[in-house]
Amino acid sequence: MKESPSTISEQDKENQLIDKLIGNDDLAYEILVRQYSARMYAVARRFFTSDDDAQEALQKAFIQVFKKISTFNKDSSLMTWLHRITVNEALMIIRQKKRQNTLPLESFTQHYNEHGERTVFSDNSEQSLMEGLGHNIEALFEKNETKFSLNELIYQLPEKYCNVLLLRDIQEISTKETANIIGISEASVKTQLHRARLLLKSILEQKDKDRLEDNWKVN
């Protein structure tokens, strides 16, 4: 394969920058941050609705970059590496949000529904998980007094669904790269994404039904 001279020099420039970064050159760090932060910020922004969250993700990503730059493999692209780190830091922040929330969907579906019936779902029985959610979702929205927001709802999906949905549908990252980032097979990305969409679809339908029923009550 023939490479054009311009791509070679770009690659050389990148390698020189990395060498300087590893050599702890202040100017190189300034160049790195100024040159790459906008693209990383755009990635972080797409994960959240608030600027604060996106800025936190970017800041944390750079902390990791500074820490790990000596382990960077020059055979891979710098931007790909920075992108992965940004995605991972954003997912970490979302994981913390999951824990902070008073109504984690996961634990909600694993124990009892609002009728006090036991609803235990194994990881492999998404079908029953979805059926169970139908019963639970009403209670979820009843207790959740804040305005219904879709991104919050997605954050509350079981983690494996939340992650593939964010990476594939929201970030529009390829199946292959998503598999790399999460550390699962491409086939698993596909099945989990499909199930995540179906789960979200059933939640939204339930929500829609509730709203229609509410309208009936009002009129």
């Binding site: 760090y29 906008a38 609705t49 996106a54 991104n151």
Partner: protein, 93 residues
Amino acid sequence: MLMIKRLMTKYIPAMLTCEEIDDFLYDFHEGQLSYTEHLTFKLHLRLCKECKDYVRKYKNTIRMSQAGFTKADPAEKVPEELIEVILKSRTKK
């Protein structure tokens, strides 16, 4: 309608069942179906209101989830204060 569907499934060998629509839905959405698969998929949707509705809602769910997040603008500048904070965080021990 159900009658027609049953007859179609029985007499047109390529006719998909509703269950098969579910199996093919992901690849359909990804544009990964072969030409023939795509045609039979579309044929089923023409004849089956339930599946047509199902597929429409599947697509809507994806669209809605995308709309629930900030549209990232790659031209958007990182606030200068944030850049300063990031640069300082490297030397700060």
